[in-house]
Amino acid sequence: MSNKEDINVSYGVDNDFFRLWLDESMAYTCAVFQSEHDSLEQAQRNKHEFLRRAARIDSDSSVLDIGCGWGANLDYLTRSVGVRDAVGITLSSDQYEEILRRDIPHAQVECVDYRNYQPGRQFDAVMSIGMFEHVATPQETRRGEHIDIYRNYFRRAWEWTKPGAWFALQTVIGARMPRGAALREIGWVTSSVFPGAISPRLDAILDSLSPHWEVMELTTRRDHYARTTGEWLRRLENNEALIRERFGAAVFEDYQRYLGACVMAFEEGYQSLAQFALRRIGE
């Protein structure tokens, strides 16, 4: 699992910095573009709605969001769907503070490592959007420990949910293995922007679900993430002068390189994006 220091590197630059190039909801994960005319804002709402349906959530559902970011999904669930019992957990202090500042109705947030989270109750549904990449580290994966770590994650999600629950999981996945310059760029992103994180391979996820969750639906959206990261890059570059002035040249240049590498990785098929609808097995 990425530790708190790793998480701070990835999400602790400054909330105002991320506000300058993410959409207005501050969703930092792949959007779903339903038409060529969709704005990033609309595409992020599309994503939240797609995942809400995947987790079979309605206004009466109690929902846990594992790795809730800056609260975009909690905000969508409570304000747009009418959910009255939503809980988010994050390991990022900056994200936690932002969610408190947003004062999202009917939503609670805890700043806690998921391995230490003890809800003391069971939810109707669980969601996790762009957090699974932090569950196992590159070192753990290299040592072959990642499958057991993923199984432990899915077991906890099972314990936190009621019989009949659904789980909407969205994660980047490793696809075609890069070589040469592409490998070096993707490696730089991993070590510099997302230390402690790694994109799981699809087979590793599928191997880890049993005996707790059944895959009912699986969608991949590589082209949607290429477009999402392209839009983030465009907005970052539109704010270049302001970012250089407020956050320094290195921050702008690192994030320009990182987002450029993401666009390349998704366009070239080195990485993809998977969305799962999982159904809880057993009582």
Partner: protein, 95 residues
């Protein structure tokens, strides 16, 4: 076995792995002298990218191509050597 093919013995394998390491970690060339067939990726202070860079170097050197899922199984020099032997055996040896 194809004509002119040679078998990569342990000494030849170690030499190949050392050159691949020096390619992947140009700032740590002195470490290559410590590589043995028993060295793990972690012992050599390598990150995943460097291990993949080694594999890419070897692919070019030997004109072979590893499968993506094989690359995720590299834990150390012994597993990389096994992978190399599997592929060069499949080609009938190294020319």
């Amino acid at each position: 076995m194809e004509q002119n093919a040679i078998v990569l013995d342990d000494a030849g394998m170690l030499e190949l792995l050392k050159r691949a390491f020096e390619f992947a970690k140009p700032d740590h060339q002195a470490l290559s002298a410590r590589i043995t067939l028993q060295s793990s990726i972690d012992e050599l202070g390598m990150e995943s990218v460097a291990a993949l860079e080694m594999a890419g170097f070897i692919e070019e050197e030997l004109d072979i191509q590893f499968h993506d899922n094989e690359l995720t199984t590299i834990r150390g020099m012994d597993s990389l050597a096994r992978l190399i032997r599997k592929h060069i055996d499949g080609k009938g040896g190294v020319k």
